[in-house]
Symmetry: C2
Amino acid sequence: MNGAESLMRTAAAAGADVCFANLGTSEVPLAGALDRVPAIRPVLGPHEAVCTGAADGYGRMTGRPALAVLHCGPGLANGLASLHNARRAGTPAVVVVGDQATWHAAADAPLTTDVPAVADPFCAHVGRCESAEGMARDMADAIGESARGPACLAVPADLARQEVREPGADAALRRRRPVDGDRVARAADALRRGGTAVLFLGGGALSREGLLAAGAVARATGCRLVHETFPARIERGGALPAPARLPHPYDDAAAMLADVSAVVLAGAREPVSSFGYAGRPSGFVPDGADLRVLAGAPQDCLDDAVDALERLADRVGAAPAERTGRRAGPPAVPSGPLTPETFAAAVAAAQPADAIVVDESLTSGFGYHRAAEAAPPHTCMVAPTGGAIGHGLPLATGAAVACPDRPVLLIEGDGSALYTVQALWTQARENLDVTTVICDNAGYEIVKWEVDKAEGVGPSSEALLSLDRPGPDWVGVAEALGVPAARAATAKELGGALRAAFAEPGPHLVEAKIRRAGA
Amino acid sequence: MNGAESLMRTAAAAGADVCFANLGTSEVPLAGALDRVPAIRPVLGPHEAVCTGAADGYGRMTGRPALAVLHCGPGLANGLASLHNARRAGTPAVVVVGDQATWHAAADAPLTTDVPAVADPFCAHVGRCESAEGMARDMADAIGESARGPACLAVPADLARQEVREPGADAALRRRRPVDGDRVARAADALRRGGTAVLFLGGGALSREGLLAAGAVARATGCRLVHETFPARIERGGALPAPARLPHPYDDAAAMLADVSAVVLAGAREPVSSFGYAGRPSGFVPDGADLRVLAGAPQDCLDDAVDALERLADRVGAAPAERTGRRAGPPAVPSGPLTPETFAAAVAAAQPADAIVVDESLTSGFGYHRAAEAAPPHTCMVAPTGGAIGHGLPLATGAAVACPDRPVLLIEGDGSALYTVQALWTQARENLDVTTVICDNAGYEIVKWEVDKAEGVGPSSEALLSLDRPGPDWVGVAEALGVPAARAATAKELGGALRAAFAEPGPHLVEAKIRRAGA
């Protein structure tokens, strides 16, 4: 057995059963190792962003090490934007990068790059193998450290080929830790002190167990539940507590938290604006409000947010239980042409039970989250946890690989879709049950809105922020990459197309022509 | 005038008349500045790799600053692989990245990243603006330093909005410098000493002037002319001297240089293998051969290779002149089904005069370079100067923007095409005269060949190195993105489709179904 195989065996023993990969010559020993470790299923991404984005989706859904193998330097670079989102989501992704043979590095051949330096700004852990014998241990370390987000391991090709004695190493993600009792006590005090208190939720707090505990705390203390704007994963629908989503637009977010007297963070960071606006504070928690950390965010620490919320619920005298006030029924089925409002309602009304919903709709989909509160139980993942667009198609791909028995619904902006349209090919090849609905509003509306607010849209910025002349034919793109597709211009057509797509296994795409406000 | 506008005016004054861009909220002030500096034409790339790859093509063709504006962190990351190629090509690209407002950086909002750290492994120069008043000077420095390859400048959004007194700064690429006379003398000695001498050409030595001087040196000394495997730009065809291309496969390259007694480098680095192979040296120049640097490579220094070759020609008693032995005529027109051989011949036979040929064909196109020696005069750019694939479509896009009066022919591998297929949309929007021919061999053949050689292709590596099940329908993809397309399975069909494409303005695509050897 060589070093590469000991590395792959270590990954497989830690629960990695899939490898999202795009290989080059420096990964030849890793390719050979995958051939000899059939417990790991290879999934080809025809661009590295598909691999790292899919790894993020797999990791968010399984909690197991999400393995990717990428080519040195530029290949890794192509996957960084998705690793950035995975880092902010705290996803346990492990990216293995083949590197030049140690003795060949000094030749500075065209593909030679400093792999750890390339990975460092986007990873929670970066390593480089120094020997074949240490490769299994290096991989175990990378897996362990990926508990706080992506780890990257550079594997020189010559070392990967050397024979080793050890067949692999034991490996597991580092475990979450109970938070200090003082934090629970102080959080309870802050929520019970009167005034307007908010329990601000993210990370593990948005799991079913976390939400049930949070709901119990809200009932016992009267606090409001709010969740972060871009949650990596949240359980929703049915009878689960439905925290309010902190809005993305600055004014709306500031208004939601304007009157709070206390904010307790559970699995989340303090909420801040995505960008700085002159004369306004970075953070949304008002001066003078009592800010407490019950449990930190996954990207920052290993705090166990679920355990912390359950202990908090005990402390405030609440018993975790399903919310009694069940919603009346499924979302209403809208009619008429597709506007952002009817679009959101039509998607929510059509989504099947137990769906995994991936949201990268940005402007078109802001209404979806509210509309889907009454949908059947489902998991929602907001794609751009780190603000990097082009993540939705790969994320949905990885979620479908991870959960073959659940339907995946991707709500995708047109600007984002064009970033990583190659993921459709992987969905076709793997016959994944993903239905993508493209919100075709012919532009990067979210940025155009910011330009318009700041200084008005002129001819150059209009040209740079519109996806028209020509508008991509999404049905044509999908079918050419092997994904059956349809087009919808009304709420009824969209509902019909989505139901037809979910009724048939394998990937589908629906292009939704959304009229802009005032158009 | 604000800082952003002073920066753009500096770029425009230095000759940048195009900006390849993909914007986010941190670039809003830069968008406003582009609206107020109409001398710079905005070109939208629907993925940052399209922007940086197009900037590389524009810079290689014009020698002027190739401007790109990208979004902070992840946006820049998406463009790094193309910057890697541009770095190895020594292209004068200047990438401006909007960054968080200085006072907002501490909030570590989702998109906050260390922009200089992200850029550093792939750029010749990295800067960050510290004041609005210094922004024009910072841009001038970035432009100057881009003479050795891409420069990156981070522009905090708050500073970009501040008013400035200075309307811009003078800026120009740093000039190439004459090499020391000793180097010319030593090169002449090495080439005249007898034995088998090679003048190894790259960078500026592959310009028309450089090649004519090199040809004169070869006639006077009897040395062989060889050029680097992945030249950024080489003038070819007609009556120009035609150096041999150093082959990509290790054994072929080693064989070409096995018997040399002296190698003189002109605008090129010492030739080395792309990857390390056990038991074989990194470099191809045999032990004991006399290795001399006449002029270094553009990525390493500002040596003026053309001037050095002309002085060398004088020194060895040769007068620069066109080669007398003109070739007999245009390449023969092949017939029969498309194999790598008939494909190469059909493309060379169909290419129009004064074409810009972009080559990212890898395995399918190795035969093209020899076939095109007899073609009419043309410029050839090999896309992956740094080995990063997915560079052809963007590079051709930028070349067509730079040279609207010349037809652009892109010979593109299918694996590479799927990386950056979004560039077709930009070609359609800008109505660029690019004809893309896709070498459809249904896989990453170059890597499969390496795996097969090293350890044999097993089921996992076969799955990861084949682009089949389904094969992308390239005609469908192109048409859906606004590019008319056709399909060819024989040499005759390919020739006809290429001639029809060149006869009509605007972008076209031809899918060439190439039979693998033995298939």
